[in-house]
Symmetry: D2
Subunit: 486 residues, 4 copies
């Protein structure tokens, strides 16, 4: 007799799909077998049971580009996640440009106790001072924050190449993963200058302001740094096929360069910006939406495993509201329109709808892309990302046959619009369980504020470097390996 | 109370690794949970429990190149498999060059009832007559033989391009997978002529007789045919990195071209042929062993998923015995030395030893490469290839810590040598279970002749084509899709 | 005082463009300088003076596919060449499928004495018998026929892989260049079967009968053979960008694989086949016209030097006449429509019009592509292909500013149509000189039958192999070079 | 009767090689013909006559890295050039880091009047201020300085990405070519930090201080900028095959990215740094010498035309002398050893010796790589870079059969060593003529200070952009071309 049993469902993991009941005790999966019985039982006949989604790229309660504050706080964002079938999010602790992590991490950690699902932070590093790199960052990594986010573009965020290298070196030495917003800052500045000079202010010109070639450039650059230092990275929100091609080339050279993409790059395109007036700003996010043909190419990179994680990059900025895009952007130059769209709740349904329904990916691949791979990449596995004995009972009863229309009214975030309004999706989360507790059922949020737990992360094997130094010098072991030098 | 429980082991699948007991009833996995109890219990503390190996490339009881008959019959070969942790093999029903499958399939099926593990056949097609393609082959496919083997080289085996295309077309129309020995026949003939003219007879010259460029050529050719007809294939025993690169290129173009390699290409090289006298013939197999540097490159293709199955290509030819290489080859021209080495029993240990032990692949990747992917590719999944509720209880208690030396005396095949004699391996099968019955324990065979079952294969989803026709013509649906034609 | 002076023109060679008079004595260029005087003077102010075109791919007086005989005999074809600015052609001596060259070369040589411009033959090899390879071919090469044409497709023409390798080996050993019609014969047969079965008979389906993928396959195959044997080849009439990409890949591997394309692949496309009824057969030639977008890609390969020769593949088949396409093809299956279009006279104007006029290539590149490179490739340089002291005075006064419309009535071949009818071209040959004699002026033929000379070719440096054997075996020097073999 | 005739030589241009006398009048080539007569005659029987070398990368009379001043002034450097067969050099006018070109161009132009051969300047831009970009640079370009040099590395030299883009944009708008020292500044700083921390001070560690991967990165970055802005660039001193591969990739994408390499990357390698003590610093130059295997790969890129100019990067720094490397570097950290080696005089002999003598390139390719292509690239053609009617009579009588040993004593620069000391070379300049005047014969300098002329450069066609904007925005014509935007 288990605490809870999910009955008669079809279990899907990254590798397998099989009919079994799932027994849960103490919030942990304790049995997979036919005909289990539990004090509580959830019927899942005709449904799939998948691991709760892991969305490793989610902004909440943060000051964003242009000084806009997220429409979502950590509670509303994670409530929205739960209602979309996502039970783990990784958010961001944002270092002040001139300050230290000590100034914000404790407060952010405190605020995050309101989360509705389990969570971790990426350390968003903006001030690579000697003190930060030598003391703060190692201490935070040791305390369980094993991922660092860096930007290659954006006035308030970008780091120069030496700083990037130093951060990568610290991450390698102390066992953390660096994630990267890879676009070229110089190109963005140049294009902004030129577009401004040409009088191009309509939000649709966002599609040319930050071109794919700038993403390709930055990906090649950061991949080169990762190669030089023999350390793994994850490139965030890969949107352009040519950028994905650079990731693949790095992988062929033996570098451990991994790529994430987001559902918006699979489901939206520059064509969505063709709206009259400032309305188009609803589709302004960075990297910019690419050409409509590029979406198909991205699927090929997902199929071949070059890109292996699909997130939402939930960046909830209101449109009409007082602190929305409209107010901050309508009269602003093109490059000052606040970037970002919400999406944590719609992520899984869009991925299923565009991926599994038309036969592009299998249900197992869906689970890998939306949950397992992110859990592995960020040191959350095997607690998260699978349905296996001993894992957290983060389970989603998934209805692959439900077809419904997206409306912002039905979503649980605090944003005043969704860029997917009216889109018809197939495949929806019916019930979401967080560590064995139902937090969502058929569009109703049933959890409570603060139900989420922080997920400290120990050093994990996935980060293990390979010991290849293309320079002929190992700067960590301080050995020269150049074949021509005696 | 289960029929059988494997206790305290760590279960490994292609995606997951977790501690759990495994319950088995009626030869099927029925429970994964801690602390199960069974009428029979096997203790696996400190051990891994992995799915029984699937070796999809295994010769037995067959006339081979040069007219040599396999040293192993179907029982001894599969007994050897069982003792190495492999519970499913796919062997070959060899069509006579001038005859029909009807002449041999029934007899072969009858002989195979002696098998010690579960089995299927590849239909080795050598006579692509109209009758065979129009009638026999479709009927055999419908009867559950869903793979066809074709050769691009070898006097008695090779098919010309038109025949290859016709076979691929039949396979697509009736739902079978074509597997291919991809080397260029003209190059082999030319090199044999020239080497003979130059007086090169030592078996070591086998390494130049069938060069990598001939494999690359044939892979590009058959991949082009698969692309043209929008149908999946598996290229057998990819040995050269340049051939693997052609597979990768085909995958990038969207073709469903898959690649198998064999442990000998990961563990042996042309350098092994440097033995005095005819002894070198013990390392003569086709494709030929490649350069010692090529082995490392093959691992990269395995890691990235370009190659996804590792088999033995068990081709058991004696060396000294009356029907051995020595007798048939010692005075023969270079190109008539019988090709082939045994390996079905050593496969898993070599793959673990060269792959997992030095950190090149993870235990999950080991399971995928040695079992799950082959099962998926050939329509045996989910019955075979995983440990999941409802799957056959083909289980191996794997001792990752055991280090031991290979000796032919300790192997269970009927061949008079092993090319791995004296090699020290880490990771050995301790106990093998076939559908819940112990067939091997610590080097002793405990099964019985005829214990294996034939595995008929229904049409399976993995074969589904994509609907892309690069020619601008769909020869199946008979539609012209060329963008310039009205 | 020279025999002849071309005055006031601008001389263009593959490297240079400069104003100079050209002095000619005894049919040879003897002076480049300002203000020369001659017994005869030709005014070229405002004109370019370019080397006479070298068209290394020209059929005449030959039985073609389908048994059709060329509409042009060797005189009318070469008269047409002269009027288009071409002063050297390489035609074909066609070996009977079951016979010997001895059966036809003397007769063909005799017939060729009627040529209007200088000429050589490719030996079109169709019967690779031992006697032919061991005796005839070496003797013909030694006699000055230093190029051999082979086919990879076509019932009456194709050679199997062993034969191709043997021919390449003879060519390497005796100093000849092999040129190749590279398409896959099996694919052509398969597609013909399927299109016939589907009832696709309209000539436009020629565009899918012989798809680009079959060209890519054959190019990779023959390039692999050339690599294996370390010998140069020229791939004829490269039409598909993917085939050109294979040539580039071979060049990157260090192979001396060269590529020719033809003006029709730059100027025509599958879209031209969209004509009602059998009219479309006027655009049936092999390889088939490719997609309209492919033309642009071919220019990139020309610019980068991957393809370096542009010819006409003049294959003059009438349309309406008694022996024309109409009669032979109208009721025939799709794959029996006679292939081929005329083009020797329009070649230079189309290349200028599509290449130089819109700025894709420079005048120097035009000279290289249409004259110099072919002369170098086939051992005719420096006698042909440039304007330099000591070279034959094959000179064309070229009017880059003339724009005119193509009409078949104005052409000098014996074919009853041109596929370029009505096309407006910029850049025309105004005057053509063969060894100092005017043979054409402003559309009027002024030469005489038999004015052309045969061009015997000595062994030439361009053929020198590199000494790289990717197999690890040099079959010519009979040395093993495999790094792992002792 | 010409002023001067070179008799009986064999003329070599980038395309042709033919026997002819050369007539010269007023310093201009006026005749190519047999048996010319002149008031002065130079006998060249058994010799080649080639165009005077164009060395487009030459430092003289300049403050270099580390504050060292060149050992050569503009006279001694160009005297050395003349004695090696080079008649045109392009040097550098170095903008102060905080200053303007106005501060130095007039003075530098004045000093350059001492030059012994014809010359031009690259504008070495270090201060991309608004005034410089908007006013100075356009004015200097209009005045005939049509090339701009920028650095991507080096504390005193490097420009950030926005500055690079702005410079490229000015160059495109005003018709100049940008040349680039492409290495990653961050990598150099990082490696210097780490090597210093590790105590690596021996000059040989220069080979790992600035690794090939940093060159590859920068080449991809600047090539991306050139693509974005549709403007041609020349990448200086490409030393690593992986960097050349990026240039090739850019060319395949249609970008006009050109590459120069230097003889030291063909003739020297990191192995040369294995010398005891500070002696190794004689081989310290930037980019660093690469692995010994890389040299062979560079030849392949030259053969295929990916790299098309070979210069000396003459950077004359003494070793022992008061202002030499020894004094500035011996106690300095690794990254402060002054970089640079002399080489303007040995360039042609090394290129012939390593290129033509062993059959890697033809004499025509030698001329193209050492003279013609540089002249074309930098707008000096047809005045320089060829032997054609109307070109400057910059002629070198070249002795391809002379084999001799390099000694610093025999060179004409003012540097106290040569890195090629003792190297035996085949192929030497016997006589050098500058505009028809003999300035060097058999190792003796026969010219005079100030004999060289400045070469102003008009706008030239080679710079013409293609009109392709991968961003979907033409920042010059201010048009949006993105296919998805309405």
């Amino acid at each position: 007799m288990h605490d809870l049993v999910i009955r008669n469902g079809t279990v899907v993991t990254a590798a397998d799909i099989f009919a079994a009941d799932i027994g849960v005790d103490g919030g942990i999966v304790t049995a997979l077998a036919p005909r289990l019985s539990g004090r509580t039982e959830i019927e899942a006949r005709g449904r799939l049971v998948i691991p709760g989604g892991v969305d490793s790229h989610c902004h909440a309660e943060q000051r964003m580009s242009g000084g806009v504050v997220n429409a979502d706080d950590l509670f509303t964002a994670t409530r929205s996640a739960a209602c979309g079938g996502t039970t783990t999010v990784i958010c961001f602790a944002l270092q002040p440009r001139e300050g230290r992590f000590a100034d914000i991490v404790p407060e952010y950690a405190q605020r995050a106790t309101r989360c509705a699902v389990d969570y971790a932070f990426h350390l968003w590093l903006r001030n690579p001072s000697e003190q930060v790199l030598a003391e703060e960052l190692p201490a935070l990594i040791a305390a369980g924050h094993r991922s660092v986010k860096v930007f290659m573009t954006g006035k308030a965020n970008w780091l120069d190449d030496l700083a990037l290298l130093r951060v990568l070196a610290v991450a390698r030495e102390h066992g953390a993963l660096v994630t990267v917003h890879a676009e070229n800052w110089g190109i963005h500045q140049f294009m902004a200058e030129r577009l401004a000079a040409g009088g191009f202010r309509h939000p649709k010109f966002h599609a040319v302001l930050k071109p794919a070639i700038g993403e390709r450039e930055a990906v090649h650059r950061i991949a080169s740094f990762a190669e030089l230092l023999d350390t793994p990275i994850q490139v965030f929100h890969v949107s352009a096929p040519e950028a994905a091609a650079e990731i693949e080339a790095a992988q062929r050279r033996g570098a451990r360069v991994h790529g994430e993409t987001c559902v918006q790059y699979l489901a939206l395109s520059a064509a969505d910006l063709n709206r009259p007036g400032f309305e188009a700003a609803k589709w302004v996010f960075g990297p910019a939406p690419r050409g409509s043909a590029d979406r198909h190419a991205l699927w090929d990179y997902l199929k071949r495993g070059v890109l292996d994680v699909v997130t939402s990059d939930h960046a909830p900025v209101n449109f009409d509201a007082a602190d929305g895009k409209k107010r901050w952007g309508e009269d602003a130059p093109l490059d000052q329109i606040p970037n970002g769209i919400p999406g944590v709740e719609t992520r899984l349904s869009i991925l299923w709808s565009e991926g599994v329904a038309p036969g592009r990916i299998t249900p197992c691949e869906f689970v890998a892309l939306s949950s397992t791979n992110a859990a592995r990449t960020f040191g959350l596995y095997p607690r998260k990302g699978t349905i296996a004995i001993g894992s957290d009972a983060d389970l989603v009863v998934w209805d692959p046959g439900r077809t419904d229309r997206v409306t912002n009214a039905a979503l649980h975030h605090a944003v005043d619009y969704t860029p997917y309004e009216g889109m018809v999706l197939t495949g929806w989360a019916e019930t979401t369980l967080l560590r064995g507790e139902v937090v969502h059922h058929k569009g109703r949020y049933l959890g409570r504020e603060g139900q989420g737990q922080w997920l400290p992360r120990a050093a994990y094997d996935w980060l293990r470097p390979a010991g290849r130094f293309p320079s002929g010098y190992d700067p960590f072991g301080q050995r020269v390996t150049h074949p021509d030098l005696q």
